[in-house]
């Protein structure tokens, strides 16, 4: 039973919201900033996004203007951080990874996202294709702030948010699932919040 007086609650929760919160997570209205290093402030004139083969060969590249000329989508999704906060109904604008890979012969099974600042994270190719992932440049109707990964970050909302790499600069196509920055130090290779895959062996 719920004895909390309505007027003393924070933001009103919709009745179906609890079904949208994965196990072990709590809801927040804030947008916490997590970072393993200093915030890069990459001017868009010096920004590009690349798709590269495992051996480093460049398969596709867009300048900022070319990237912004690609078709983009506005998506509203729930996000889940492995540090246990979840945030519902976040609205992003970005380019679908499907669009970025459409002209690339991708036989790879995995990708490694690489970023300004040296961060990496690994994902199965099928988790960034099929309308499941974006390179996002806008948040809540505004340009994405550097603290949240601007000028552009990966957005893969169905996995823990460390997979949604901030300051992303490209995707490397990989034959094997090579652990990224956190995945090589205890964090789960895949990171499904609904199966609570936080750490190795979860």
């Amino acid at each position: 039973m719920d004895y909390v007086t309505r007027g003393f609650r924070g933001r009103r929760r919709e009745p179906d919201e609890s079904a949208r919160v994965p196990p072990g997570q709590y809801l927040t209205d804030d947008f916490p900033v997590l970072s393993a290093g200093p915030t890069p402030h990459r001017p868009v004139a010096e920004w590009s996004f690349a798709v590269v083969a495992q051996d480093g060969e460049q398969l596709a590249r867009w300048s900022w203007d070319e990237f912004r000329a690609l078709p983009s989508e506005t998506v509203t999704v729930d996000i889940h951080c492995v540090t246990k906060w979840s945030k519902l109904d976040t609205t992003w604008e970005g380019v679908s990874v499907d669009t970025l890979l459409s002209d690339v012969e991708a036989e790879a099974g995995y990708v490694t996202a690489f970023c300004d600042g040296g961060y990496t994270t690994n994902l199965p190719l099928e988790d960034v294709t099929g309308g499941k992932a974006w390179v996002a440049f806008g948040y809540d109707g505004e340009p994405l702030e550097p603290e949240h990964g601007g000028p552009a970050r990966l957005l893969v909302p169905h996995l823990y948010f460390w997979k949604s790499a901030k300051w992303v600069r490209g995707l490397r196509l990989m034959d094997e699932d090579e652990p990224g920055f956190w995945e090589e130090l205890g964090y789960h290779l895949y990171g499904d919040p609904w199966r609570e895959q936080r750490y190795w062996g979860d």
């Binding site: 900033v33 393993a36 290093g37 200093p38 603290e147 190795w200």
Partner: protein
């Protein structure tokens, strides 16, 4: 909030490294494997507001150490340190 406001210095590693090494570590001298800079652990730039704790070289920014703590496990990466110089325990200064 600017994430750079979340930076700490290496003194914040005292408890964590004390747990790992069983001794006081912030005065240990670390050598950065990337740039060769030498400094006390206390001088590292530390980012603890992340899925783990990351200590970086104050000179070049390279990652010197990382620690991830789960409920029943810890993971430690010291690859970014070429060496750590410590005083042997129990010796007079």
């Amino acid at each position: 909030m600017d994430a750079d406001d979340l930076r700490l210095d290496g003194n914040s590693l005292g408890g964590l490294l004390g747990e790992l090494f069983g001794r006081e570590m912030t005065a240990a001298l670390g050598t950065c494997a990337s740039c060769g800079a030498v400094g006390e652990v206390a001088t590292l730039v530390v980012y603890a507001h992340a899925p783990g704790t990351v200590g970086r070289c104050r000179a070049c920014g390279a990652v010197l150490l990382r620690v991830v703590r789960a409920e029943r496990r810890m993971w430690v990466d010291l690859r970014g340190l070429r060496s750590l110089q410590l005083e042997p325990l129990g010796e007079e200064p």
